[in-house]
Amino acid sequence: MHIAKQLMAIPGVIAAGEYAYRGDRYTYEGGLTDEYARMASILCRANTLNASMQAEMFSSFAEHCGCRPLQGWVVRGKQVSVCAVGNFFCMLENRQGVLNDVMTVMRAKVGDISDNVMKAMYSKIGGDVTEQLV
């Protein structure tokens, strides 16, 4: 299943999408207009490139400090948060458990969690609504 669809299956996720590292291509699901999704894609790509550059700089202080390569970033708002991992982004409500679920799914699909995603999620939160993810 497409990652954005999987993310949208998590209750509390407002929108999710994918953008190209180069160029203007993007796809998305959820509560954004096409123009807002385009803006969100550009914003997330710019921030990810910026944060990746920062992570590269850490290596000049400690080569194996564990930051590089960067996976992504999270901005925690008052009621809404935005996550970006790899070339995917997700906008979500700050409800209990949503951010951790979103990060687990995103890291499993494009980040560093290589084993069973459900196992990783259940080990953290005990399992309830996450059955919808598979």
Binding site: M39, V75, K78, N100
Partner: protein, 114 residues
């Protein structure tokens, strides 16, 4: 500010405080990792810069789209390969990704920050 409380966050590798400009003012680092005060200082500057950028973007996004709920920002996290930095206000933690509980980290920092 009691950094020892932040050292109870799940998966924590280090806790640190910094000025509004990002200069490191205090740190606790668990033994057995490659983090140094120098790395934390750079990390703190990075996080201050990113919080400022994110605030600008959140303000602009709310004005452009009419969508509310971002401001005031409650924190920022940089997700690296092995660890994530989670910051807000003038303090932050570095947590192992393997054990990271982002919500707990944000909540702990919000409870600690001055």
């Amino acid at each position: 500010m009691d950094l020892s409380k932040l050292m109870e966050v799940p998966g924590v590798m280090a806790a640190f405080t910094y000025t509004d400009k990002g200069d490191l003012t205090g740190q606790l680092i668990k033994e057995g990792n490659e983090l140094t005060p120098q790395v934390l200082d750079l990390l703190a500057h990075t996080c201050v810069a990113n919080m400022s950028i994110a605030t600008m973007e959140a303000r602009g996004w709310e004005a452009l789209t009419g969508q509310k709920g971002f401001e005031p920002l409650q924190g920022f996290s940089l997700v690296g390969l092995d660890w994530s930095a989670v910051v807000n206000g003038n303090c932050g933690v570095v947590v192992k990704n393997r054990d990271a509980d982002y919500e707990a980290a944000f909540a702990a920092i919000s409870a600690t920050k001055v």
